[in-house]
C-alpha cells in the first residue's frame, strides 16, 4: 500500500507531538517514577507511533519521517523498559560501603580463576628461579636493569640510604602515589587482557612470576634471603595477591568472552568483574603506602624480623578478610539481592 504522506502526517502529528512532549517531561525528571495513568498513556502513544512507523517503513519513501518516528519509538522504548536508579538510591553510603563485603564474596565465587592465576604465576616463578639457580647468566635476560646490580651492593646501598628517608615523608608520599597508580594500571591491564581470551592475562602473570622467582633466588643464593623477604613482604602481602586477583578478573572475563552470547548474564558478570577491580584497587592503595613508607626502611632502623612479622600479619589478615568476610546463609543472600532490576 502506498501512503498518502501529507494526509497521514496531518492525521497522526498530534499523537507524535503529544508523545514527544510527554517524553521531554519524563527525560527531564530521571528521578520521577511514572504513575499508572502515565504509563498507560505512554503505552498507548507508543503503540500508535510504532504502528505509524511500520506504515511509513513499508508504505512510503520518507526517510526523514521514518528517522523521526524511529527516534520517538526508541525514546519511548527506553522509558518503558528501563528504570534508572534514583539519585537517592545511588548516593546511599550503605550502597557503597557494601563493596567491602561484596568484594570477598565475589573473590570466593570466582576462586577457580584465582587458582588458575596462582598456577600461571607459580609456573613463571618456578621457571625464573630454576633458570637463575642453574644458569646465573640468565639474569641478564630475565631481570630488568634495576635488578641486575650486585645484590650485596644493592643491600649495602639500601641499608645506608635509609637515613635520608627519615626526613623525606614528602618524597615518600609522591613515591607512594606513583606506585599506587602504576600498580593499579598494570593490574587493570591484566584484568582487561582477558578480552584476548585470557592469553594476554596469562602472559602478564607468567612474566611477573618469572621476575619474582628470579629475584628471590638471586638474592637468596647470595645469602640475602631475609633482606629480600623483609623488603618485599610488607607491601607484597597485598601487592602480589592483588595482581593475582587481577589475573582472576582477566580469566573470568576470558571465560565470559568464550561463552555463547545468549548464555551470558552480562549484568551479573560485569558487576562481578567490577567488584574484583574495586577490591584490588583498594588493596593496591594500601600496598603503595606500605611500599613507600615502610618497606624502604631497613635494619637497624626497622629490624628485618619485625618487617617480616608485619608482612606475615598483613597476609594473615588479608586471608581472613578474603575467606570469611561477607559470608551469609543462602536464604539471607537471596533476600539481600532483592529484585533483579535496579
Amino acid at each position: 500500500m502506498i501512503l498518502d504522506l501529507q494526509r497521514f502526517q496531518a492525521q497522526e502529528r498530534p499523537c507524535w507531538m503529544k508523545l514527544e512532549s510527554l517524553l521531554v517531561q519524563l527525560e527531564s525528571r530521571p528521578d520521577h517514577r511514572m504513575k499508572p495513568a502515565e504509563v498507560e498513556l505512554l503505552q498507548e502513544l507508543y503503540a500508535q507511533t510504532a504502528a505509524d512507523l511500520n506504515r511509513v517503513t513499508h508504505g512510503a519513501l520518507a526517510p526523514e519521517l521514518r528517522r523521526y518516528l524511529e527516534r520517538l519509538v526508541a525514546r519511548t522504548y527506553a522509558e518503558l523498559y528501563y528504570a534508572p536508579p534514583t539519585r537517592s538510591e545511588l548516593w546511599q553510603p550503605r550502597r557503597w560501603l557494601r563493596i567491602f563485603a561484596s568484594f570477598p564474596e565475589a573473590f570466593r565465587r570466582q576462586s577457580r580463576y584465582f587458582a588458575l592465576a596462582v598456577v600461571v604465576t607459580m609456573l613463571g616463578c618456578g621457571l625464573g628461579g630454576f633458570a637463575v639457580r642453574y644458569d646465573p647468566a640468565s639474569v641478564d635476560v630475565l631481570l630488568p636493569a634495576d635488578y641486575l646490580r650486585n645484590p650485596g651492593l644493592r643491600v649495602h646501598e639500601e641499608e645506608n640510604e635509609q637515613g635520608r628517608h627519615l626526613d623525606s615523608a614528602q618524597i615518600e608520599a609522591a613515591f607512594s602515589a606513583q606506585l599506587i597508580t602504576h600498580n593499579i594500571q598494570v593490574s587493570l591491564l591484566a584484568a582487561a587482557l582477558g578480552a584476548t581470551f585470557g592469553i594476554g592475562t596469562a602472559l602478564l602473570l607468567f612474566e611477573n612470576g618469572l621476575v619474582l622467582g628470579a629475584v628471590a633466588v638471586r638474592y637468596a643464593q647470595q645469602g640475602f634471603g631475609l633482606f629480600v623477604t623483609a623488603w618485599l613482604l610488607p607491601h607484597g602481602a597485598f601487592e602480589i595477591p592483588s595482581i593475582l586477583i587481577a589475573g582472576q578478573a582477566g580469566f573470568y572475563l576470558a571465560r565470559l568472552m568464550l561463552c555463547r552470547r545468549e548464555d551470558r548474564n552480562m549484568r551479573e558478570s560485569m558487576r562481578e568483574w567490577l567488584l574484583l577491580i574495586a577490591g584490588l584497587a583498594m588493596m593496591l592503595v594500601w600496598a603503595g603506602l606500605m611500599e613507600a613508607f615502610f618497606s624502604q626502611r631497613h635494619a637497624p632502623v626497622l629490624p628485618y624480623g619485625f618487617k617480616v612479622a608485619v608482612g606475615a600479619a598483613e597476609l594473615a589478615l588479608l586471608t581472613i578478610y578474603l575467606l570469611l568476610i561477607g559470608r551469609r546463609d543462602p536464604g539471607a543472600k537471596m533476600l539481600a539481592n532483592g529484585p533483579a532490576r535496579n
Binding site: L3, Q9, E27, P30, N54, T57, L61, Q170, A177, R267
Partner: protein, 268 residues
C-alpha cells in the same frame, strides 16, 4: 532489460532493535571519526581541568610539595577514568564531547546505558589504547559490524549518532507545478519501486544542501547521481534527459519518490 532488483547503495551502519512487542526500529551507529573528535575534545577538557587543579593543589600544598605531587598524581589517575564513567553513567551515555558531537553510548539492546556498563567500557580503555593512539580499539571498531571497541564488546554497549530531528512539517516535498517524469508513469513507478529509502534520502539531502556545496562539487555530485539513476534505476528517454539540467532531473526524481504518492494523480 536491466535487473529489476534494487541496487543497494552503501549505507551507514545501523543497529536494528526488535522490541518485545515486535516493533523494529533502527539506530544509526557512530563511525570512528566523530568518536575520535569527541574523544579529543573530552581529552582536552580533562587535561585543562587537571591543569587548573594542578595549580590549585600546588598553591594549597606550597609548603609541602611532595604531598601536592601525591594529590595531583592520584587525582589525575582517578579523573582520567572517572570522567568518562561517571558522565556516561549519570548523563544517559554522554560526555561533554559526545553531547557536542551528537553521540550517545547505549546498551546493545537499545536501552540506556547502566552505570556498571559505563565503568566497564571506560576501564577497558587500558586495553583499547594499546599499543599507542587507540590502535587496538580502532582496529576493533573497524572490524566490528556494529563498530564496537573492545570496551564496548565487553560491556555490551555501542555508540549511536543522535543528530537533532524535528517533527516533519506540513509543506510538500516539492512545490513544482509540472514534473515531466510523470509523463512516463511506467518509468516513474519503476523508479519508486527500485529506489531504496537511503537513495531517496540521499537525493533529498543533495537538493536541500545545494547552497552548502561549492558550485564545482555540486555539479559533480548531481552529475554522478543522475548517471547512477539513469543507468542503474530507471532510464528515462534520452530526448527528455537532454532537455533537463542535472538539478532539474534530480528535482523531478525526488518529486516522484518523495512527493504526493497517490499513483493516479499527475501533476500539472
Amino acid at each position: 532489460m536491466t535487473d529489476s532488483r534494487p541496487n543497494r547503495l552503501p549505507t551507514t551502519a545501523e543497529l536494528a532493535v526488535a522490541t518485545p512487542e515486535g516493533v523494529i526500529f533502527r539506530l544509526p551507529l557512530a563511525g570512528p571519526a566523530p568518536r575520535l573528535y569527541a574523544m579529543l575534545l573530552d581529552t582536552t577538557i580533562v587535561l585543562s581541568a587537571l591543569n587548573g587543579l594542578g595549580y590549585l593543589v600546588y598553591w594549597i600544598f606550597a609548603k609541602v610539595p611532595g604531598f601536592g605531587a601525591m594529590t595531583i598524581t592520584l587525582a589525575e589517575f582517578a579523573i582520567g577514568f572517572a570522567y568518562g564513567a561517571l558522565l556516561e553513567g549519570f548523563w544517559n551515555g554522554q560526555t561533554i564531547g559526545k553531547r557536542l558531537f551528537h553521540l550517545r553510548v547505549i546498551d546493545g539492546s537499545g536501552l540506556p546505558l547502566r552505570i556498571e556498563q559505563a565503568w566497564v567500557r571506560n576501564l577497558m580503555r587500558v586495553f583499547d589504547v594499546l599499543p599507542f593512539a587507540y590502535l587496538v580499539g580502532g582496529i576493533s571498531v573497524l572490524s566490528s559490524p556494529i563498530m564496537q571497541r573492545f570496551g564496548d564488546r565487553v560491556a555490551g554497549t555501542l555508540v549511536v549518532r543522535e543528530t537533532p530531528l524535528s517533527a516533519p512539517t506540513d509543506e510538500a516535498p516539492s512545490n513544482q507545478k509540472y514534473n515531466s517524469f510523470r509523463m512516463y508513469p511506467a518509468l516513474a513507478m519503476r523508479l519508486r519501486r527500485a529506489a531504496t529509502p537511503e537513495l531517496a534520502g540521499l537525493l533529498q539531502d543533495a537538493l536541500r544542501r545545494r547552497n552548502e556545496l561549492a558550485p564545482y562539487a555540486r555539479r559533480e555530485v548531481y552529475r554522478e547521481l543522475v548517471a547512477y539513476l539513469q543507468t542503474e534505476i530507471a532510464p528515462f528517454p534520452d530526448e527528455l534527459v537532454e532537455m533537463l539540467s542535472d538539478e532539474q532531473y534530480l528535482t523531478n526524481a525526488a518529486d516522484v519518490l518523495l512527493g504526493d504518492q497517490r499513483p493516479s494523480r499527475i501533476h500539472g
